[in-house]
């Protein structure tokens, strides 16, 4: 158990190095882009794998997921690559560990699946000003009460006339 923990943190270190130094020689596994909204596609590339020794295998692990993806194409800049479709992925950061067809490890990289777009964080307020409404209502109510009193007082006068 302890060994695997140590391996994992070493692997993460390599991943971080990859992110900090894009295009550097030590980048033997890359994910492009490193961040994708959920449902987007990322390209996994094992830059040091020789296509002649067979398909590379990318092991994708992260929140709620552990799956293997087989390389489908020879990458333009050398090595082997595969496309990964992130529909249905839980949001978070995933680690990709590549193994070449000859069984040799081709390092790891990470990518992050993010929410789509911005946040619906406002309702636009309320276009009703409740204080003014209450004041208006009170005045209108008083006016109506006054009108009722006036009409009642005038009734006897009008019958006499």
């Amino acid at each position: 158990m302890k060994v695997s923990t140590a391996l994992c943190s070493a692997a993460l270190g390599v991943g971080l190095g990859t992110l900090l130094l894009p295009g550097a020689a030590l980048a033997d596994t890359t994910v492009s882009p490193a961040t994708t909204p959920v449902g987007g596609t990322v390209v996994l590339t094992a830059t040091t794998c020789n296509p002649k020794s067979g398909d590379a295998l990318f092991r994708v692990t992260g929140p709620n997921r552990d799956q293997n993806v087989r390389s489908t194409t020879a990458a333009a800049g050398g090595g082997l690559s595969a496309e990964l479709f992130t529909a249905g992925f839980t949001l978070g950061t995933y680690t990709v560990a590549a193994t070449c067809g000859d069984g040799s490890s081709a390092g790891t990289a990470t990518f992050t699946v993010t929410p789509i777009g911005g946040a619906p964080a406002g309702s636009g307020g309320d276009s009703r000003d409740t204080g003014t409404l209450a004041a208006g209502g009170t005045l209108l109510g008083t006016a109506l009460a006054g009108a009722v009193i006036l009409i009642r007082r005038r009734r006897p006068v009008s019958t006499v006339a």
């Binding site: 971080l16 992110l19 900090l20 882009p33 490193a34 961040t35 909204p37 959920v38 449902g39 929140p63 839980t90 949001l91 978070g92 950061t93 990470t110 992050t112 993010t114 929410p115 789509i116 777009g117 911005g118 946040a119 619906p120 964080a121 406002g122 309702s123 636009g124 307020g125 309320d126 276009s127 009703r128 000003d129 409740t130 204080g131 003014t132 409404l133 004041a135 208006g136 209502g137 009170t138 005045l139 209108l140 109510g141 008083t142 006016a143 109506l144 006054g146 009108a147 006036l150």
Partner: protein, 203 residues
Amino acid sequence: MWWRRTLPAVVALLGVTGLGLITVGLTADPARPPRPPADAPRRTHPAPDLAPLSRAAPVRVQITAIGVRAEVVPVGADAAGVLEVPPLDKPALAGWYRHGVSPGETGNAVLVGHVDSPAGPAVFFDLGRLRAGQQIQVTRADAQVATFTVDDVQSYPKDSFPSTLVYGPADAAGLRLITCGGRFDASTGNYVDNVVVFATRTA
């Protein structure tokens, strides 16, 4: 009797004023949130060398400069992949994007809050007034307080939201605050922009 002649006038005046106030009250424009200036200076100080904190959920966020003191609850994203926000009937709460890092860990922690609600201005109403150099304090469930200093405040149309800058990996402990802003589109019931505060941990 003098009041027999003045009372109808008073009643009429009350009625007209009352109707007028009701009309004004129904059509009043609610207060609109402040927008960050397009040419706001960016803070470019390097992040101090602080040991990253372990993972612990944030429980409170405090921004003295704009009078924010809010409880924080964890949020995720809905089935369509859109970031969740705390319910509109609890506009004083801020949300922490729980699939990302926690404030103080290496990487960018994301907090989201409403700009307004039917009840008026909400927790992050004044986010657009924050300026580079001002501070944000986040209290975590492990009782540690992480202090962040604002680097930049920007406004982005929602369809060109900078996902990588907000959620993407980073080699320092950062904080991102998100709320709505820009023009309010009454036809969709949404603001067209998101205001994003970029901050780096400094204590």
